[in-house]
Symmetry: C2
């Protein structure tokens, strides 16, 4: 990690690296994550956040959306927007938690 990166840049790198961690090894599916890997990623990497009902509902919605087009995998842009879709509804909850833990 570039040492001089800011906290926000390091956070972005963590989420980018997470995409590559779950990326398909199938050469036909370059730079994409399979849907099952995405579900797997949610359970392993975002499981604490998903205990919150609002984020659990958001994640379920995201996964249903994923399954609409049964065909493909998820590229980086979709991966990023899905995480945003799951995080959005709980952004206030995250903020309250942060304010409690820092007060």
């Amino acid at each position: 990690m570039a040492d001089r990166y800011t906290k926000q840049e390091k956070a972005v790198v963590v989420l980018v690296e997470n995409f590559y961690k779950y990326m398909s090894n199938n050469i036909l599916v370059k730079n994409k994550i399979s849907k099952s890997s995405f579900r797997n990623m949610l359970q392993h990497e975002l499981d604490h956040m998903l205990t919150n009902t609002r984020s659990r509902e958001a994640a379920d919605k995201v996964i249903q959306e994923l399954d609409k087009n049964q065909d493909g995998c998820i590229d980086f842009e979709e991966y990023w927007s899905f995480i945003g879709a799951i995080t959005g509804p709980i952004a206030n909850h995250i903020r309250e938690q942060e304010q409690q833990s820092s007060s």
Copy 2:
């Protein structure tokens, strides 16, 4: 920060907190960031990443897009997708950097 959070969850919290850090204090603009604050945020929080030409081009494109509708501010969803738009083009670059620094 919930101590048991994974690395990915902590990264999400950092980016959520960053949104609140730049959020407008204007009560009329609840839970939004002004465009000038967003530009300011790019310069202060993502400046190392923006030295990469591809991310600089992506950031300029994002800012031009921002200015299309001169009216409003940026909500969490737009904030999140803008960071994804800036990160996407350099995701490969980030990965190569990571592989070099860990090899």
